[in-house]
Symmetry: D2
């Protein structure tokens, strides 16, 4: 047994909520209890940590939550985490509560904050990637991505009924401020005519040419999936440009927050269970300041420093595949 093994851990969610966080919390608590740890649940993310809002969690406290979206602890985007004063307060809360290690479920912003907290205060942090955007370095998938993709896809299946009936192109904006990950999966799975993502320059002329080519082949409807962070400016702006360029009526749908919630898919629950248990295992093994992830089907540990510095690559081959398979 490692000498610095954690005995009391705290767990929080940070940033946007993601389906699967509850399944992961359940795993952290139950695997932690099994390992003889005490577990504190922190309310409302780093904001709650700074305010000292924590309470003990036992096995039964996390019963009947595995199927729920959101996160029962609450979460927040905490501005203070990104200031030295805030981090100092967070560290004091951890010390006062006698916490040996803090488990953070969150995205890359949260991990940058956690890494600064580690460096400045000597706190021990352990990360679990949880964000629907799937833009965290060090894991193939983050919690919530699979659910968000399936939710967006259901919406697109519905929209296609109307697009086919009205014979019009629909521009559908999905989440992803800096990443086209959701857009690409949804576009490929939804049989979209095109997908527009921030990672590649958007060529409106080519997009228009593709639509017109479809028109010529007799296809009057079609779905164009737009990542919200695309540099061309989101679905409304893009649609207006295209509509003007090829003189067609169109519709715009912005899926928005619907993509965040809902019962997690099997995959997000299984991933949550695996990563939660792996986080506890890592702490038992004396690991510090790493993020647990899954790469190529295996659990991995990546230093938080590396996670906070490096950028996950989007699989642009998917975009090529969309084009290859469209009409």
């Amino acid at each position: 047994m490692a000498p610095n093994k954690a005995r009391r851990i705290a767990v929080l969610a940070s940033g946007g909520d993601a389906p699967g966080m509850n399944a992961c919390l359940r795993a952290v608590v139950r695997a932690g209890c099994d390992a003889g740890m005490e577990i504190l649940g922190v309310r409302r993310g780093f904001s709650g940590l700074i305010a000292g809002e924590m309470s003990a969690l036992g096995r039964r406290d996390v019963g009947n939550i595995i199927q729920r979206g959101g996160i029962v602890l609450g979460t927040s985007r905490c501005e203070e985490l990104h200031t030295p004063e805030g981090r100092s307060k967070a560290a004091r809360s951890l010390r006062e509560a006698g916490v040996d290690a803090l488990v953070v479920m969150g995205g890359d912003g949260s991990f940058r904050g956690a890494w600064a907290l580690v460096q400045e205060t000597g706190a021990c942090c352990l990360g679990i990637p949880a964000t629907i955007d799937n833009d965290v370095y060090g894991t193939d998938f983050s919690l919530g991505f699979d659910t968000a993709v399936n939710t967006a896809l259901e919406s697109i299946d519905r929209i296609r009924d109307t697009a086919d009936s009205l014979e019009r192109p629909f521009f559908v904006e999905v989440m992803g401020r800096s990443s086209g990950a959701i857009a690409l999966e949804v576009g490929l799975a939804g049989g979209a005519q095109d997908v527009v993502v921030p990672e590649t320059p958007t060529n409106v002329e080519e997009l228009c040419a593709g639509l017109q080519e479809g028109f010529r082949r007799g296809r009057r409807s079609g779905i164009i999936v737009v990542a919200e962070g695309d540099e061309a400016g989101g679905a409304f702006i893009l649609a207006r440009e295209v509509g003007r360029c090829i003189n067609t009526e169109y519709r715009v749908v912005v899926l928005g927050h619907v993509q965040r919630g809902g019962a997690p898919t099997a995959r997000d629950r299984v991933l949550g269970a695996k990563l939660g248990a792996a986080a506890v295992d890592a702490l038992v093994a004396g690991e510090e300041n790493v993020m647990v992830g899954e790469v190529g089907g295996r659990v991995t540990l990546t230093p938080l420093r590396e996670v906070s510095e490096r950028v996950k690559q989007t699989d642009e081959a998917l975009l090529h595949l969309v084009h290859r398979l469209t009409h």
Copy 2:
């Protein structure tokens, strides 16, 4: 047998598509075949009728469509229908195809057009109420309403996960340009804190007071459902006013066209089957220029004239019930 019994009928969808239209089309075609009629399917609504786009439909042609959203015939909002020239062309198409009666699946705008067509050209029309807005006089429910409500409700269930996790009010805009019918059902079923509809004046101060009352009781999240046609100006405008007034962060989601599509609910399919068969029965009985509907669980016939002149009342008692049951 009535002397003026229809022998050849045409069927079309008009206006926005609505889930259940396909189930209804199937019923019209199959019950019509059973009654010895010939059935012509018209493509793209009145636009297609004017252009003469019709083809014969047999029993097998409507197999495996009962579960599909949209309408396989296509539909359109036809501006020409609202001009005497357009209606004259439509009547000519019907005459040239030897059509004895035209079955129109649509909403109140389409029925006003159909009634004008009847008056001006002597065409025989039979209406079937099909619009997610449920704002057609002469029926408790129109095709598509139940599906749209359930789709919007699923979205609200998802959004609540995030609202609870972030502890913020969410303003959710649902469809309904002149009717709060969807908003009221969704708001009541979704446990909304408040519902804002075009039928009643929106009192922003009261809305704010209700939210603050909730805050005092410890409830920081909450869903406010906004009908798109509310005179206060839709969810974005309302949310900004409320947010300023009570100084809170908030989120806005506009559900949009997602509400139109998707596999119809059982109720919309059963209603489609009943109304489609009843339309054929009415024609066999020699009825003309009526709309079939369901009132109090029974099939009814209402003159198209009355349908086109009168306004369906929204059940405002639902709004009172929302307020009575909220937190």
Copy 3:
């Protein structure tokens, strides 16, 4: 105000759970609080009542349950309710807790028990119809029916994919021990080839003839919906007979308890809200020993005696419509 107005009421669920019970409980509690009543929630139905398992419920205790299936109070099929001794114990529990009226969410068996309780002990009971079987006299729909039908329909939509791919008839058994209500709605909405219900004699020869007629027209797959209580013996027995008779391979699926659970549909939540509030209104108005229901879209009160003695008629016209619209 009526002199015998209830001041303290108890509420319980009895028999099988039904989606919408939670929405109804929420309405009883909140409308009751509004009316100045004290509300006791009884655990595990009449079994819990006899054992005295009750506790006070306030407005906040029923927050965030409107969307959940099952019933948070628990329920039971209580054998003791059907004995004089059991009813005497139940009445004593009510007296000891100072309960003025007992609200029972349940089906016809529960209402027969409640009516016996009323007659023998002078207890005041108020019924709310809640059973997926929709076989309660005095209401068009009971809570849970709409959800169960939609759940079964989703399953049938899935099964049809396989039936079409394998080109085989599938016999699908749905719930309904003495009533074909679910089977008829699901069969009509699912485009079933035939529906077999306990209310009408099942003619295996006609069923086989219908299937063979379909084969001749080139349709090799098809769904036959079987109510579990059909006198021909359920899907397995019927399928074996048919398979032997027309020498075809087939598959059998028994949907079972899946139909009971899940988030309630909009309709079941709205009905739960209406009936729960109406139950409180009835008590405030001094009503006793009635069941609230909805007939033709309006809330009605029916004496419990009548509910316990009369039998709801199944809408057999639906069966005729299934046959009229099949292939």
Copy 4:
């Protein structure tokens, strides 16, 4: 360009249908057209191949199928494939149609048949793993598995509502004749109390002890997931034994064919697109008699011989994780 590059290919589905097959067919056809190939679609699997039921497929023929369950070509379990005569007839069909390569979507039984066909007749086959059982060697996931798991999980979420309300254990049988893959994922994701699979001996006493331990902690309900092929004999037999042993009431649900159908998940559609395009790429590169798969997130090729001889290992670590995280 490889000299033996295929110019005309045929594609079929074999064995049980699996969601994602249509997405895969679409990809084979469209990527094949792009590569200048002619594509023949074979109806009803190897039975249809033997009977010569093939027709040309173009890009438009596979439009609007990506979201559908089942397989539009039809499929069959063909006994003749497992006889030399049958294989000889299949080879003749391929020769007569001038087919250079046959693409087979199916499971391990189909690949054993295909490998025998290759060896005996010199036909060129290319496999794509498609079976909800996920028991094919050479790929992490086969088409349909993710959808089947999510469908079963939805059912379990529903059943838990009732299990909690009635406070009874439920035994839920999921598909998997020789593999516990579905059972393990569903059990872990569904928060099951235990999972029973064919890969490990089932110890009824331990299962009972686990349930009783739960009872002692106050948990009266619970889901036990049973793979249909478990050597203890399926859910009914196991439940009876357990019920007798610990003297408790219980319920049994057999999910059955519902698990096969339905719109594929995003993951199954994306996998279908990738594997379908990869199959064409492999043929363009001159590959023969291999199966395309995905291992660790990358497309791989495995010789059909190896696929037909080796057994995929189930991830039994999941079973350990279920036990670690249960109550």
